[in-house]
Amino acid sequence: MKNNIKVQRAMRNMTQADLAKKISVSRQTINAMEGNKYVPSTILALKIARLFEKQVEEIFELDAED
Protein backbone atom coordinates (compact mmCIF):
# COMPACT_ATOMS: atom_id res chain seq x y z
CA MET A 1 0.00 0.00 0.00
CA LYS A 2 1.20 3.46 -0.87
CA ASN A 3 0.37 6.67 0.95
CA ASN A 4 0.99 10.39 0.71
CA ILE A 5 1.22 11.16 4.42
CA LYS A 6 4.50 12.97 3.86
CA VAL A 7 2.92 15.29 1.28
CA GLN A 8 -0.15 15.94 3.41
CA ARG A 9 2.10 16.68 6.33
CA ALA A 10 4.28 19.06 4.32
CA MET A 11 1.20 20.93 3.04
CA ARG A 12 0.25 21.59 6.65
CA ASN A 13 3.78 22.36 7.81
CA MET A 14 3.73 19.52 10.30
CA THR A 15 6.76 17.57 11.47
CA GLN A 16 6.68 13.81 12.02
CA ALA A 17 6.67 14.54 15.74
CA ASP A 18 3.62 16.85 15.46
CA LEU A 19 1.67 14.23 13.57
CA ALA A 20 2.74 11.45 15.93
CA LYS A 21 1.52 13.44 18.91
CA LYS A 22 -1.82 14.30 17.31
CA ILE A 23 -2.71 10.67 16.61
CA SER A 24 -1.00 9.24 19.74
CA VAL A 25 1.63 7.07 18.13
CA SER A 26 5.43 7.05 18.22
CA ARG A 27 7.56 8.93 15.70
CA GLN A 28 8.92 5.60 14.47
CA THR A 29 5.44 4.67 13.36
CA ILE A 30 5.03 7.81 11.24
CA ASN A 31 8.47 7.29 9.78
CA ALA A 32 7.77 3.63 8.97
CA MET A 33 4.45 4.50 7.30
CA GLU A 34 6.00 7.24 5.20
CA GLY A 35 8.76 4.86 4.16
CA ASN A 36 6.12 2.27 3.18
CA LYS A 37 7.58 -0.12 5.73
CA TYR A 38 4.45 -0.34 7.80
CA VAL A 39 0.80 -0.63 6.82
CA PRO A 40 -1.33 1.00 9.52
CA SER A 41 -4.45 -0.56 11.01
CA THR A 42 -7.83 0.67 9.80
CA ILE A 43 -8.22 2.64 13.02
CA LEU A 44 -4.96 4.47 12.50
CA ALA A 45 -5.68 5.11 8.82
CA LEU A 46 -9.06 6.60 9.73
CA LYS A 47 -7.48 8.77 12.41
CA ILE A 48 -4.95 10.12 9.91
CA ALA A 49 -7.68 10.80 7.36
CA ARG A 50 -9.80 12.59 9.96
CA LEU A 51 -6.88 14.74 11.04
CA PHE A 52 -6.10 15.74 7.44
CA GLU A 53 -9.85 16.12 6.70
CA LYS A 54 -9.62 13.79 3.73
CA GLN A 55 -11.17 10.52 2.62
CA VAL A 56 -8.97 7.50 3.44
CA GLU A 57 -8.62 6.78 -0.30
CA GLU A 58 -7.15 10.22 -0.86
CA ILE A 59 -4.26 9.34 1.44
CA PHE A 60 -3.89 5.56 1.08
CA GLU A 61 -3.82 3.64 -2.16
CA LEU A 62 -3.33 -0.02 -3.03
CA ASP A 63 -0.26 -0.78 -5.08
CA ALA A 64 0.51 -3.62 -7.51
CA GLU A 65 1.63 -6.03 -4.79
CA ASP A 66 -1.59 -5.86 -2.76
Binding site: S26, T29, A32
Partner: protein, 157 residues
Protein backbone atom coordinates in the same frame (compact mmCIF):
# COMPACT_ATOMS: atom_id res chain seq x y z
CA UNK B 1 -5.95 -2.20 21.06
CA UNK B 2 -7.42 -3.37 24.35
CA UNK B 3 -5.70 -6.12 26.31
CA UNK B 4 -2.19 -6.74 25.05
CA UNK B 5 -0.79 -8.72 28.00
CA UNK B 6 1.96 -6.16 28.61
CA UNK B 7 3.27 -4.70 31.84
CA UNK B 8 3.16 -1.01 32.57
CA UNK B 9 6.09 1.08 31.28
CA UNK B 10 7.51 1.55 34.80
CA UNK B 11 8.30 -2.18 35.13
CA UNK B 12 11.02 -1.82 32.49
CA UNK B 13 13.29 -0.01 34.94
CA UNK B 14 12.71 -2.67 37.62
CA UNK B 15 13.51 -5.33 35.06
CA UNK B 16 17.01 -3.92 34.57
CA UNK B 17 17.47 -3.50 38.32
CA UNK B 18 16.61 -7.20 38.74
CA UNK B 19 18.46 -8.64 35.75
CA UNK B 20 21.96 -7.28 36.28
CA UNK B 21 22.52 -8.56 39.86
CA UNK B 22 20.71 -11.83 39.05
CA UNK B 23 23.01 -12.55 36.10
CA UNK B 24 26.03 -11.93 38.34
CA UNK B 25 24.52 -14.12 41.06
CA UNK B 26 23.84 -16.85 38.52
CA UNK B 27 27.45 -16.92 37.36
CA UNK B 28 28.73 -16.95 40.95
CA UNK B 29 26.32 -19.75 41.88
CA UNK B 30 28.09 -22.10 39.47
CA UNK B 31 31.18 -22.03 41.70
CA UNK B 32 30.00 -21.70 45.31
CA UNK B 33 27.60 -23.38 47.71
CA UNK B 34 26.32 -20.39 49.62
CA UNK B 35 22.88 -19.96 51.21
CA UNK B 36 22.24 -23.60 52.01
CA UNK B 37 18.69 -23.69 53.41
CA UNK B 38 15.93 -26.25 53.84
CA UNK B 39 13.63 -26.30 50.80
CA UNK B 40 10.47 -28.15 49.87
CA UNK B 41 11.09 -30.70 47.12
CA UNK B 42 8.48 -32.52 45.06
CA UNK B 43 10.82 -35.32 44.11
CA UNK B 44 14.50 -35.83 44.71
CA UNK B 45 16.90 -38.64 43.78
CA UNK B 46 19.14 -39.63 46.68
CA UNK B 47 22.16 -41.89 46.32
CA UNK B 48 22.37 -44.50 49.08
CA UNK B 49 25.43 -46.74 48.66
CA UNK B 50 25.56 -45.61 45.00
CA UNK B 51 21.97 -46.80 44.52
CA UNK B 52 19.69 -44.05 43.22
CA UNK B 53 16.50 -43.80 45.26
CA UNK B 54 13.66 -41.48 44.39
CA UNK B 55 12.17 -39.65 47.36
CA UNK B 56 8.82 -37.93 46.97
CA UNK B 57 7.68 -34.75 48.72
CA UNK B 58 10.24 -33.96 51.40
CA UNK B 59 12.35 -31.20 52.89
CA UNK B 60 15.95 -31.16 51.67
CA UNK B 61 18.96 -28.84 52.09
CA UNK B 62 19.93 -26.92 48.97
CA UNK B 63 22.07 -23.88 48.13
CA UNK B 64 19.48 -21.48 46.72
CA UNK B 65 21.72 -18.93 45.00
CA UNK B 66 20.96 -20.38 41.55
CA UNK B 67 17.22 -20.51 42.27
CA UNK B 68 17.26 -16.83 43.23
CA UNK B 69 19.22 -16.01 40.09
CA UNK B 70 16.74 -17.94 37.94
CA UNK B 71 13.78 -16.06 39.39
CA UNK B 72 15.53 -12.70 39.01
CA UNK B 73 16.68 -13.35 35.46
CA UNK B 74 13.40 -14.65 34.12
CA UNK B 75 11.16 -12.09 35.80
CA UNK B 76 13.62 -9.29 35.02
CA UNK B 77 13.94 -10.20 31.33
CA UNK B 78 10.16 -10.48 31.01
CA UNK B 79 9.69 -7.06 32.59
CA UNK B 80 12.22 -5.48 30.26
CA UNK B 81 10.94 -7.09 27.08
CA UNK B 82 7.23 -7.21 27.83
CA UNK B 83 6.63 -3.82 29.41
CA UNK B 84 5.00 -1.17 27.29
CA UNK B 85 7.31 1.27 25.57
CA UNK B 86 7.03 4.92 26.60
CA UNK B 87 4.76 5.47 23.60
CA UNK B 88 3.25 2.06 22.93
CA UNK B 89 1.44 1.71 19.60
CA UNK B 90 0.57 -0.83 16.92
CA UNK B 91 3.87 -0.51 15.05
CA UNK B 92 5.84 -1.20 18.25
CA UNK B 93 3.53 -4.18 18.88
CA UNK B 94 4.31 -5.54 15.43
CA UNK B 95 8.03 -4.99 15.96
CA UNK B 96 7.76 -6.93 19.22
CA UNK B 97 5.95 -9.80 17.51
CA UNK B 98 8.51 -9.94 14.70
CA UNK B 99 11.32 -10.06 17.24
CA UNK B 100 9.54 -12.87 19.06
CA UNK B 101 9.28 -14.93 15.86
CA UNK B 102 12.91 -14.20 15.02
CA UNK B 103 14.08 -15.31 18.45
CA UNK B 104 12.08 -18.56 18.26
CA UNK B 105 13.95 -19.45 15.06
CA UNK B 106 17.36 -18.44 16.40
CA UNK B 107 16.90 -20.07 19.80
CA UNK B 108 15.56 -23.39 18.57
CA UNK B 109 17.91 -23.45 15.59
CA UNK B 110 20.81 -23.06 17.97
CA UNK B 111 19.35 -25.66 20.30
CA UNK B 112 19.11 -28.18 17.44
CA UNK B 113 22.67 -27.42 16.44
CA UNK B 114 23.95 -27.88 19.99
CA UNK B 115 21.92 -31.08 20.36
CA UNK B 116 23.73 -32.34 17.29
CA UNK B 117 27.23 -31.50 18.52
CA UNK B 118 27.22 -31.51 22.35
CA UNK B 119 26.77 -34.80 24.18
CA UNK B 120 26.58 -36.48 27.55
CA UNK B 121 27.14 -34.47 30.73
CA UNK B 122 28.23 -31.41 28.70
CA UNK B 123 24.72 -31.14 27.34
CA UNK B 124 23.67 -30.16 30.85
CA UNK B 125 25.17 -26.69 30.32
CA UNK B 126 23.05 -26.32 27.20
CA UNK B 127 19.95 -27.13 29.23
CA UNK B 128 20.95 -24.73 32.01
CA UNK B 129 21.44 -21.76 29.68
CA UNK B 130 18.62 -22.46 27.22
CA UNK B 131 15.70 -20.96 29.21
CA UNK B 132 17.53 -17.64 29.63
CA UNK B 133 18.98 -17.61 26.13
CA UNK B 134 15.54 -17.39 24.55
CA UNK B 135 14.54 -14.31 26.55
CA UNK B 136 17.92 -12.71 25.96
CA UNK B 137 17.75 -13.28 22.18
CA UNK B 138 14.26 -11.78 22.15
CA UNK B 139 15.33 -8.82 24.24
CA UNK B 140 18.41 -8.06 22.15
CA UNK B 141 16.52 -8.37 18.85
CA UNK B 142 13.62 -6.21 20.00
CA UNK B 143 15.84 -3.50 21.48
CA UNK B 144 18.10 -3.52 18.43
CA UNK B 145 15.16 -3.08 16.05
CA UNK B 146 13.75 -0.22 18.13
CA UNK B 147 17.19 1.37 18.20
CA UNK B 148 17.52 1.02 14.42
CA UNK B 149 14.10 2.64 13.89
CA UNK B 150 14.94 5.52 16.18
CA UNK B 151 18.29 6.06 14.51
CA UNK B 152 16.57 6.21 11.13
CA UNK B 153 14.40 9.09 12.36
CA UNK B 154 17.53 10.87 13.50
CA UNK B 155 19.13 10.42 10.09
CA UNK B 156 16.15 11.88 8.25
CA UNK B 157 15.92 15.12 10.15
Amino acid sequence: MKSNYLFDYKYKKWGWILVLPSATLGLISQHVNWLKVPVFSFFHTKFLNDEPKLKLVQIIENPILDELATFGLIIGCIWIALSKEKIEDEFIAQTRLNSLVWSVYVHYGLLLLLTLFIYDINYLSVLIYAPFAFLIFFLLRFKYTLYKNKKQIGDEE
